[in-house]
Structure formats: structure tokens, C-alpha cells
């Protein structure tokens, strides 16, 4: 099931509907318009066209979230061509909207503009619409797929994912709400696509917590204790450990030799506890980044994140 972002509310005034085949032409026209504003347009500021990557947004399941503000925020750090693929459109034919959104790079500075495309398809035409993504990517720049919701499960979902996976370089998931089974599905996806690099917003949200744990072991004397560490605990709210807690446990197990036993226990707060010779070290979870910051971090990395892949593998390996 594809979700429908409430994009239109956000950019209603400037979204232009076009045929999918006319997207590039319409974008050229919009760029030309931006470069030559009407005389007397006091708002007009010099425009800089910058594009550092392609970002395709698609997925299955998930809430009916409004991704437009989030993408607008991300575009400040990563000017991009964003292509949002929406399923379950009404009517019989695919529809497409394009716009160019701009933000000022600084006070009195040029505006930096990014392109936004929405491709909407009735359920029956989704495959064709997904097929058109390949022709809409900006050449020679990395292409990311932000796959929202759970990993593809049904044959149809897998086929859709597969079509997109063929044209992108990196896939970004968000395992925050994944069950243990779904996290295993993510690990399976990583194994099934050895050509692709994978990232996870849920993993990006763990960076500051991991850094805080790593920092404890920077002094050489502490590193000596790390070598003989056999147990650690991660306290977390709720009964079942979340996917984040599982990933953090997987990270500790995949980084340390021999892998320590990591126990997860219910508690009020999220804290890593490690018993050492001098007492127990407690590292509470720092405030996580926003979704836009987490996505920005993932878009910064073009290649494989071996540490994440190993943590995911360890987190989903049955004892």
C-alpha cells in the first residue's frame, strides 16, 4: 500500500500539473522563468541551480505522513531532485506535478533551488510510473531511494522495490517501528542486493548515542578493559526491545571481539550499562536528531556503511 503525502497543501501555489513525458520540458521552462523574473518583481533574487543528488521517495505501509516540509528542510543541506512516487491515486491515468522550491543561502545571498516531482498513479498503473523514474534521474549524480514503511513483503511490493533498486545507488530505510521480524527482513534485503548500499534513519538516530559510548573507551586504560568485556546491558522503556535497541546491541556485538553478551531490560529510560573494574558505566541516550537531520546524515554517505550492515546482521542473528 503506497502512502499519500500531503504535499499539495505545502506547495499548492506553485505545483504545476504536467504529463510525465513533459516533466523535463516544464522544468526547463520553470528554470528559465526563475532566471528571468518579470520586470518590477521586487521579490526576485538571483537564482543558483544546484543539484548534488537524486532522492526517490517511495515505500509501502507507514502512516499518511506529510513529507514535503521534511524534504524542503533536507534540500537546504542537499540540493536535490526529489521524486515522490505516490500510489492509490484516483482516476485512470498517472498524473505528475513539478515545482522548483527555493531558499536563500544566507542573508542577501543567492537563492538555491531544488526540483520536486510528484508521480501519482492509480494502483493498476504503478509499475509503469515506477518504470518512468529511471528516465527522470539527473545524470551522473548519486541516486538514493528513501523507502518508507516496512521492508517489501508481498511479491508485488518486492517487484516495485526491485524496479527502483535497479536504478539507485543507495537505499535508506527507517527501521524505527520495525518488529523483530521486519528487522530481519531488512537484513535479508541487504543480503539480497549486494550491489546496493543501505542506510537506516533509525541507525542515524543512534549516532550520538554510539559516539557517547565510544567516548568512554577513548582513554587507552579503558580500551584495555574493552578487550575483556563480556557483558553489557541496554535498559529501555516498554516490554520488547525496539529496533533501535536491537541495532545498538548488534553494534556492540559486531564491534567487539569476542562479542559480549548484551542483555536488554525494561526500564524508564534508555541507558547503556557496562560493568567494569572500577564500577558500572552508564551512558544515557542523548536527544536524537530530527527526521530531517537523520535523513541528511544518511544522504551524506554515498558508499556502503559496513558498520551498520554488520550491526544489522548481528542484531538479527538468532543465538
Amino acid at each position: 500500500m503506497f502512502f499519500v503525502p500531503l504535499w499539495f497543501e505545502y506547495t499548492n501555489t506553485v505545483m504545476n500539473e504536467v504529463e510525465i513525458g513533459g516533466i523535463e520540458r516544464e522544468l526547463s521552462r520553470l528554470w528559465s522563468e526563475l532566471a528571468h523574473p518579470q520586470p518590477g518583481d521586487a521579490q526576485a533574487a538571483p537564482v543558483l541551480r544546484t543539484c548534488t543528488l537524486n532522492l526517490v521517495v517511495a515505500g509501502c505501509g507507514g502512516e499518511q505522513a506529510d513529507v514535503a516540509p521534511l524534504l524542503a528542510e533536507v534540500a537546504v543541506r542537499h540540493p536535490a531532485r526529489c521524486i515522490v512516487v505516490v500510489g492509490d491515486g484516483e482516476g485512470e491515468r498517472p498524473r505528475a506535478w513539478v515545482n522548483i522550491t527555493c531558499h536563500a543561502a544566507g542573508r542577501g545571498q543567492q537563492q538555491v533551488c531544488s526540483e520536486r516531482l510528484i508521480l501519482q498513479a492509480p494502483a493498476g498503473a504503478l509499475q509503469q510510473v515506477i518504470g518512468s523514474v529511471a528516465g527522470l534521474l539527473v545524470a551522473d549524480l548519486p541516486a538514493f531511494l528513501w523507502w518508507r514503511g516496512r521492508p517489501p513483503a508481498s511479491d508485488l511490493e518486492k517487484e516495485r522495490f526491485n524496479r527502483l533498486a535497479r536504478v539507485v545507488d543507495r537505499v535508506v530505510l527507517d527501521s524505527a517501528s520495525f518488529s523483530g521480524e521486519e528487522l530481519a527482513g531488512a537484513a535479508e534485503l541487504v543480503r539480497a542486493y549486494p550491489r546496493l548500499a543501505f542506510g537506516d534513519l533509525n541507525w542515524a538516530r543512534l549516532t550520538s548515542w554510539r559516539a557517547a559510548v565510544a567516548q568512554v573507551f577513548d582513554p587507552p586504560a579503558m580500551q584495555a578493559q574493552l578487550a575483556s568485556l563480556s557483558r553489557a546491558r541496554i535498559a529501555h522503556p516498554g516490554g520488547e526491545p525496539s529496533a533501535a535497541v536491537r541495532l545498538l546491541a548488534g553494534w556492540l556485538q559486531s564491534r567487539l571481539q569476542p562479542p559480549p553478551e548484551v542483555e536488554t531490560t525494561g526500564s524508564d529510560a534508555e541507558v547503556v550499562e557496562i560493568d567494569l573494574a572500577g564500577g558500572t558505566i552508564r551512558v544515557p541516550r542523548p536527544a536524537p536528531p530530527t527526521d530531517a537531520q537523520a535523513l541528511s546524515e544518511e544522504l551524506r554517505i554515498v558508499g556502503r556503511d559496513a558498520v551498520f550492515e554488520q550491526a544489522l546482521s548481528a542484531a538479527t542473528t538468532e543465538d
Binding site: 537546504v76 542537499h78 550520538s208 565510544a214 567516548q215 573507551f217 582513554p219 587507552p220 574493552l226 541528511s296
Partner: protein, 522 residues
């Protein structure tokens, strides 16, 4: 190596260490050093067990130091102040009042560093920063040697004896410019530094080398395949390096009277920029290899004789004028400046590099105060095409291709090339293709001091000046400085504030052997 650091996202942080700042009550600490350390703390780039000891003459205690630094960080940090970051960071700030030349005070400092080392597990790793006026450099260095602080084994003998942990503990010293005011004083400073520290322990900071765009020069040249083939005498007409400031000497009149533009800017910043843009590819991207290539390049610069001062160099001093619509006084009217001052506020020179790559290509360098705008850039101008093919645009009206590294403000790179103006006639016009750091990557670039302090803590001296380089630059410029000292300038002040310098600077292009006839307007 901490195995938990292994990641794309958790970069290699330095070993735990104590950072000792001499001159901790001064302006540099307040404006640059503490905000830089705070930014590193915010980004979790500091190691566990990191602490700062501020040492200066002011009679402060830890609490006063923390309070003042809190205000400094809130005012000058590029990252908004957050109490949650500040509180744990502030707990690692300490202060010790010292007289810089007092042996007992240095003994006390050694005790403080040793106690911190035992508490925080630094094993005695120490980084000293000389943020004092240059007059205090020599006594501090001498006392660091006498007290044993320069030798971590003397700070924590028990660690040295046990050989615990990886590698040996270290002590490093960061020295702020000026590195002397001529060849003799630079050698005196180096001589003492090398009596007390080994060259590998000394980090001469030139904050220009920490700027993103400066570091990008090497990336641009050696991570791309298409530029290096044209980066030579066959295609390049000439190179211009400009470091322009629109401000005057502000409160530094008395200091500036003793230095001038050549010593203050050309000897260090401009020569380093020249080395980066013209050096050969290093064998590896390591401290030693990059330094060697820079040194090799600087040694290939054709020496300038005293007698050539008039033809290869130009000096200027600003008179009253206007900047951004506001009237500003001349240099001689500034506070702390003599009414008949001979100090140059503008210096320009033409250099030739006698090696295979650059033979015959002139390099023009200029730096000045009270120029129309603040800009630092390196412009590489290419030769014109060999033939004029388009009748409406004669060859001499074609603009050459120009490659500009903009270092500040608006860090970026631009390439000028010719394009056809839309229309039935074949008119050609130059257009600029621009890459801007701020907009293409979005993320704010770190301040130069953040990068360089982290490098020094990690033991990476690639972006610091080397003693040999400093001396080579002094040796090269000394004949010009001598000529200028010997002969009083007849026409000072010779440029109006708010203009691009004296007419003498334009004469450097005469007989230079390049197509271009003047300075570009950056």
C-alpha cells in the same frame, strides 16, 4: 584504536589529552580557541578525558575562567549555545594564573597537568598553545623545557616506566604567527623550539591552511583528472593571488607599525597559497610528503635581488578615502601610527618559479588593507585560443578562461568560459560557472581553528607550516624588505582607501611575458 570508533560516522578522535593555553585571558582564546573547542565538543569530536588548562597573567580562578569562556562561546561560537553541551565541557576547564617567565609557576603548572593526567587517563599527553604576544614565546618555550612539561615522561614517570597503553605519550606545541619578523629572528625562535621540542612536536599555525577552500585546492587538483593536464606553462598564462581586506589596522596600529603587509600577510598566507596551487603532486597525502612538495616549490622560486625591488615589487600605504560609502581615515591618522609612518599597508610582487611546470609563467601576489572589499582568491588565467575563428569577436576581445578559487568570503570555485549569445549573429560573451561551498553542501564548514586544533591533537601536521618553509619564505623576501627599509617611500600615502592599491602595482605586469595586462577585479 578504540574498536567502537570504527565507523563512517564516528571519526577518529584524538587520544585523551590536556590542552594548555598560554594567553588564556586574551582575545584569541575568547574569539577563536574556546569557541572552536566548544564546537568540537558539540560535534562529539573531543576525546574522553579531555581538559583545558588556561594559563595567563590575569588573577582568575576556575569559576571566573569558566564564566568568561561561557560568555565568549555564547558570543562567538558558530554553533548556538546549548547548556547541555556546555555544562560537562565547562567542568573540564581549569585556570592557573602564571607569570610566563616564572619557574615556580611552571612547576605548579606541571603539577596541575600531572594531576589531571592521573584523573582523566591522558597518560601525560599535552598540547600547549602559545596565544600570547610574540614577546612571551621565548620565555614560555624555555620554561616548558626546564620544567619538563615538554617531555611527558617527566610529567608522569609512572606511565613512562610501565609502558602502558599504545604508543608513547606526547607533548606538542602550537605556535601562533608571526614566526619571527625576519630570517634571523625566525631562526632564533626555531633554534629555541628545537632545543626544547623536536620538529615533529611543533605546530606552526597559519589559520589560512585550515580553511576548507584552501584544503580543497589539493582535493581539486589531485582528486580530479581533468585539471592537472592543463595546470602548467603550456596552458596557463599567469596566476594572481589576492588577499584583500577592507578594514584598516583597527586597534592594532602599534603592532602593524612593526610589521606591515609583507610580513603580516605575504610571508605566510600568500606564500602558502602559492605553494598549494603550484606544487607537484605529493607521493602520498601525508604530513611529510605534502611539506616536502611545498618546500620544493618554494625553493624553485627565482630569488629576487634588492636591486629588483622596484620592478618586481610594489608597496603602498592608504590615505583617507571611503569604504562602503563611509569616509575612513588614512593609515597615518590611525591610532598608534606615526604621522610620518613608512610602513606599507599594501604589498604586491611578481614571482617566477623556475621549474619545468612553471617556467615563464608569472605569479602575481598582492595583499592590502582598506581595499574595496574583503576577498581572498587565487585566479589561474589560461592562455587565449591560438586563432580567432569568429569574425564578430576578434581574438583580442575574447576573454581568457579563468579559474578562480574563492577562499573568502563565499568559499567556492568558478570557471569563466566563452559562450555564444543567443541570436542570429555570432556574438561571444564570457559566462561564469560557479560552485559554492555553502550552497552545494549545505552543511556549515567548520572554522579553520576547529580543523587545526583537532589535527594537532591527532598529530597531523599536514596543514601547519614547517620551519624550513618559514625560513625559505623569509630568505626569499628579505632582500625586498631590506630594500624597502633602506629607501624611504617617496609617495606615501599612495593609494586612497577604498581603491585597489597604488599604480605601482600595475607596473608589475610590464615585461612579465604574459597576455594579461593588469590585475583582475575580484
Amino acid at each position: 584504536m578504540n574498536p567502537l570508533r570504527e565507523s563512517l560516522r564516528l571519526p577518529h578522535t584524538p587520544e585523551p589529552c590536556t590542552f594548555v593555553i598560554f594567553g588564556a585571558s586574551g582575545d584569541l582564546t575568547r574569539r577563536k580557541l574556546l569557541p572552536a573547542l566548544y564546537a568540537l565538543a558539540t560535534e562529539q569530536r573531543l576525546p574522553g578525558g579531555f581538559s583545558v588548562v588556561g594559563a595567563a597573567r590575569s588573577q582568575w580562578n576556575d569559576a571566573q575562567f569558566r564564566e568568561r569562556m561561557r560568555a565568549a562561546v555564547a558570543e562567538f561560537s558558530r554553533i548556538p549555545f546549548q547548556s547541555a553541551v556546555w555544562e560537562p565541557f565547562a567542568a573540564s576547564l581549569f585556570y592557573l594564573p602564571v607569570e610566563y617567565d616564572h619557574p615556580l609557576h611552571h612547576a605548579r603548572l606541571k603539577e596541575v597537568v600531572a594531576n589531571l593526567a592521573r584523573q582523566t587517563g591522558t597518560r601525560g599527553n599535552s598540547l600547549f598553545y602559545l596565544a600570547t604576544p610574540p614577546s612571551a614565546f621565548l620565555p614560555i618555550i624555555r620554561r616548558l623545557g626546564e620544567s619538563g612539561l615538554a617531555c611527558p615522561a617527566a610529567v608522569l614517570p609512572e606511565v613512562a616506566a610501565s609502558g602502558q597503553g599504545v604508543g608513547q605519550p606526547w607533548a606538542r606545541i602550537i605556535v601562533e604567527k608571526p614566526f619571527g619578523r625576519d630570517l634571523a629572528s625566525a631562526r632564533q625562535l626555531d633554534g629555541l623550539l628545537q632545543q626544547v621540542f623536536g620538529e615533529e612536536q611543533v605546530y606552526r599555525i597559519d589559520h589560512y591552511l585550515g580553511k576548507e577552500t584552501v584544503q580543497n585546492i589539493l582535493v581539486f587538483r589531485f582528486a580530479n583528472g581533468i585539471f592537472e593536464p592543463v595546470w602548467n606553462r603550456r596552458y596557463v598564462d599567469h596566476v594572481q593571488i589576492t588577499v584583500a581586506e577592507s578594514i584598516g589596522v583597527e586597534e592594532r596600529g602599534a603592532f602593524y607599525e612593526e610589521s606591515g603587509a609583507m610580513r603580516d600577510m605575504v610571508q605566510n598566507h600568500l606564500m602558502q597559497l602559492l605553494a598549494l596551487v603550484a606544487m607537484e603532486p605529493p607521493a602520498a597525502f601525508g604530513t611529510r610528503e605534502v611539506r616536502q612538495e611545498k618546500e620544493k616549490l618554494l625553493r624553485a622560486i627565482r630569488p629576487v635581488a634588492r636591486e629588483q625591488a622596484a620592478s618586481l615589487a610594489a608597496r603602498g600605504q592608504y590615505g583617507p578615502g571611503a569604504i562602503a560609502g563611509a569616509a575612513v581615515p588614512g593609515y597615518r591618522q590611525e591610532k598608534g601610527v606615526a604621522a610620518d609612518s613608512r610602513t606599507e599597508t599594501f604589498a604586491a610582487l611578481r614571482l617566477h618559479i623556475d621549474n619545468w611546470r612553471w617556467a615563464g609563467v608569472p605569479f602575481f601576489l598582492r595583499s592590502g588593507k582598506r581595499l574595496p572589499r574583503r576577498v581572498t582568491e587565487i585566479a589561474v588565467r589560461f592562455r587565449r585560443p591560438p586563432l580567432g575563428l569568429f569574425p564578430e569577436t576578434p581574438l583580442d576581445q575574447l576573454e581568457s578562461n579563468l579559474f578562480a578559487f574563492r577562499i573568502q568570503p563565499d568559499e567556492g570555485i568558478s570557471l569563466r568560459f566563452e559562450a555564444k549569445v543567443p541570436g542570429r549573429e555570432l556574438h561571444v560573451r564570457p559566462v561564469n560557472m560557479e560552485f559554492r561551498y555553502g550552497t552545494s553542501f549545505g552543511a556549515a564548514a567548520p572554522e579553520a581553528y576547529e580543523t587545526l586544533l583537532l589535527d594537532a591533537m591527532r598529530g597531523d601536521a599536514t596543514h601547519f607550516a614547517w620551519s624550513e618553509t618559514v625560513e625559505t619564505c623569509w630568505a626569499l623576501l628579505e632582500p625586498l624588505l631590506e630594500a624597502w627599509t633602506a629607501e624611504a617611500p617617496a609617495d606615501f600615502p599612495n593609494y586612497e582607501a577604498g581603491t585597489w592599491g597604488p599604480p605601482a602595482a600595475d607596473r608589475l605586469f610590464e615585461g612579465a611575458g604574459c597576455e594579461a595586462a593588469g590585475w583582475r577585479r575580484p
